[in-house]
């Protein structure tokens, strides 16, 4: 076998088969995938199915705390989990740029397999395409996922959100966004910082089983906590008030954000979710989250109030400012 991906690896011929067998099936294999038929078949029990899809184009493809493979599994698993579903099956499509070292592809696939195992999901179908050098960027991955809606999960809806409800997050914000930014630009300011990339279905299942009053959940990925809460505010019709002092933040993220003129509230997260919880169940919910490794720093960071679909931040000194949806990508300020 050559040591880089060639165009021929994507032409459906002998090299394609070798690639599928020696990398994808070898690492991600399960009875359904091993069939290598045109479609995976599985039985469905009664109830509702949830389907989600996401594409991953992160640069760099390896970063502290994860890689594009782990991200591709977590992203789709988390979208299903915050919708109240128990994720079960994934598909994975790779668009590979000619010349990608095979050892990189192996590492990415191994990482996908490990994350899938941790999340309790199986990759049951896949596809590989190879594009000419310069027509892609190393590797892009699309995953789609199917999950079964749990009883507790089926009642989640933004229409249940009411003034007085609390906003809970399972830990510190902006870790993923700042990690990627600092890796991309080669900063030395944020040593020790790593992406929070993690599958959230385990902690979410424990939360839904452990306490009533969970009304709605979302994962604040691109656009960060501020953008996701703006979406919640606009769907529900209520205001959201955040308390700056309560928001968990790592000192590396705070420091690098201040230097670059970025706001952690707008930085991406890949292992965090926001839950809107009935007031009386908020404290017990935080207690449950804190017992899980992915929720040690869980906190109530805000509340829903009467209003007109706006998001506000109460600053420690007592001022209030509005948090708008991000217009375009976050760009560092020079002054």
């Amino acid at each position: 076998m050559t040591d880089v991906v060639l165009l021929a690896h994507g032409d459906g011929g002998a090299l394609s088969h070798k690639l599928i067998k020696e990398i994808f099936v070898a690492q991600l294999g399960n009875p359904m995938l091993n069939e290598l038929s045109d479609a995976a078949l599985f039985s469905v029990r009664q109830g509702k199915l949830a389907v989600s899809t996401d594409s991953f184009v992160v640069d760099p493809i390896f970063f502290p705390g994860g890689d594009i493979g782990k991200l591709a599994v977590c992203g789709t698993v988390n979208d299903l989990a915050v919708s109240g579903a128990v994720p079960r099956y994934l598909t994975a499509s790779f668009i590979i740029e000619e010349g990608l070292p095979l050892k990189d592809l192996k590492m990415i696939t191994a990482s996908m397999a490990e994350t899938a195992r941790a999340a309790g999901v199986q990759v049951v179908a896949g596809d590989t395409k190879v594009v000419e050098r310069g027509h892609g960027d190393k590797v892009f991955i699309n995953t789609a996922g199917i999950g079964f809606l749990s009883d507790a999960g089926s009642s989640l809806s933004y229409s249940r959100i009411k003034p007085g409800d609390k906003v809970i997050i399972n830990g510190s914000i902006g870790d993923h966004g700042m990690t990627i930014l600092s890796q991309r630009e080669g900063f030395s300011v944020s040593s020790g910082l790593k992406s929070d990339c993690a599958p959230l279905n385990g902690i979410i299942e424990e939360l839904l089983e452990g306490v009533d009053g969970i009304k709605f959940m979302r994962d604040p990925t691109r656009g960060g906590v501020a953008t996701t809460l703006n979406e919640i505010a606009s769907s529900s019709g209520w205001d959201v008030m955040l308390f700056e002092e309560k928001i968990p933040l790592r000192k590396e993220v705070t420091g690098a954000s201040a230097m670059l003129g970025l706001d952690p509230l707008y930085l991406a997260n890949e292992g965090k979710f926001l839950a809107i919880v009935d007031k009386i169940h908020a404290e017990p919910a935080v207690d449950i989250l804190r017992r899980h490794p992915l929720g040690r720093e869980a906190a109530i960071i805000g509340e829903i109030s009467e209003g007109k679909s706006n998001v506000y931040l109460k600053t420690p000194i007592g001022g209030t400012k509005r948090l708008n949806t991000l217009a375009g990508a976050p760009l560092p300020r020079i002054c």
């Binding site: 968990p248 000192k251 509005r322 560092p332 300020r333 020079i334 002054c335």
Partner: protein, 370 residues
């Protein structure tokens, strides 16, 4: 580690806030009108907004945003030139600070060029663009040298590096600007409606406190140099209130841990080695004498404009932008006929809309129309 708020600092800031509120109520009562202070620089604008101070003080005073940052005031024509570099120079990489790419010229922006075929690369420091040029000898790297007195020494150091290491494929578009001439231009307007100035902390670290004495001695305007933490800003405002109460006008320094009387002569020296003052256009404010920086003749070869003989093109500027009047407190966003129509946060015309902290952007985002 999760950050715990510094409770001592916070308690101090809260105490100061109460103190400032009381004093402001008294002074404004005596004046019989609302107090209006202006923070000159964009970093103060951002800090005041981030800390929630504008809101916490709004009952007792108006904190108006000044000319802002060097990015927001970059003129149409300068962006047009950068776009022209992007389109016409062979193998070019336009190197820029991140927040420049959104600023619109009269027919495009670097963001749009980047999305097309333009090769635009974001750098965090000018010397990184020199390093990139050295590692990519087949490329022509043109750095957009925007900045006030604080940033320009870093551009000068990058030029020093390019000069020393003979990096011949590195040049700049000199777009540096100087703050005191802009302050002078604002203060010269007899209709200016401002009771005191919060002077830029970083710029002052370079130019020093003393060089800004003209604000008080010539224009009799209370002013204060201060830092960017809540307590810094409140102490600065307190100093302005004291001056206003007693009818005094001084340029006080409440940022002594960073700003010296004479500033930083070394930083000025290196800038001065490469650049000379020249009349420059500020977006929304127009042409201001001696407020820009041009390369000195003996370093003219670093000027991308001459190196690639770029043709100047007359910019098409939407007429009617009131940013100049707005900055002076003579108009409100709603008075501007471009506001919310031709001029929006995604397609900004003047600096007050370009900067997300600018008055127009804030008005637009809050859905205010009158």
């Amino acid at each position: 580690m999760i950050i715990q708020p510094n409770t001592d600092k916070l308690a101090l800031a809260k105490k100061l806030l109460e103190c400032v509120r009381q004093k402001a109520r008294r002074v404004s009562g005596r004046l019989g009108r609302p107090i209006r202070f202006m923070e000159v620089c964009g970093t103060h604008t951002a800090a005041i907004s981030r800390l929630g101070l504008r809101d916490a003080l709004q009952e007792v005073m108006i904190l108006a945003s000044g000319p802002g940052c060097p990015v927001c005031v970059t003129d149409y024509q300068d962006i047009d030139t950068a776009v022209a570099v992007c389109r016409t120079v062979d193998n070019v990489v336009v190197a820029t600070f991140g927040d420049m790419i959104k600023v619109p010229g009269s027919y495009s922006s670097l963001e749009k060029e980047k999305a097309g075929r333009g090769n635009v690369k974001i750098f965090y420091a000018p010397y990184l663009a020199v390093e990139y040029a050295r590692n990519n000898p087949d490329k022509e790297v043109v750095f957009l040298a925007v900045g006030f007195e604080t940033t320009m020494p870093t551009v000068a150091l990058a030029l020093d590096m390019a000069e020393r290491d003979k990096v011949n494929n590195f040049s700049i578009l000199p777009l540096g600007k100087l703050v005191p001439p802009a302050i002078k231009a604002l203060l010269q307007d007899p209709e200016l409606n401002v009771d005191g100035l919060i002077l830029p902390g970083h710029v002052s670290a370079v130019i020093g406190r003393k060089s800004q004495d003209f604000i008080a001695s010539y224009f009799h305007m209370p002013a204060v140099v201060t830092g960017f933490e809540a307590a810094d800003i409140l102490i600065g405002i307190n100093s302005l209130l004291k001056q206003l109460e007693t009818g005094a006008a001084r340029v006080e320094n409440r940022y002594r841990r960073v700003v010296a009387e004479e500033g930083n002569p070394e930083a000025r020296q290196i800038t001065d080695k490469y650049f000379a003052p020249v009349s420059a256009k500020w977006r929304g404010l127009g042409s201001i004498p001696d407020s820009g920086l041009v390369l000195r003749e003996r370093y003219g070869y670093f000027d991308a404009g001459t190196r690639f003989s770029l043709e100047g093109q007359e910019p098409i500027i939407p007429r009617g932008c009131l940013c100049g009047d707005l900055l002076k407190g003579k108009a409100l966003p709603a008075d501007c006929r471009l506001f919310g129509k031709t001029c929006t946060p995604l397609n900004p015309v003047g600096p007050c809309m370009v900067s997300s902290e600018g008055a127009c952007a804030a008005w637009f985002n809050y859905g205010m129309t009158s």
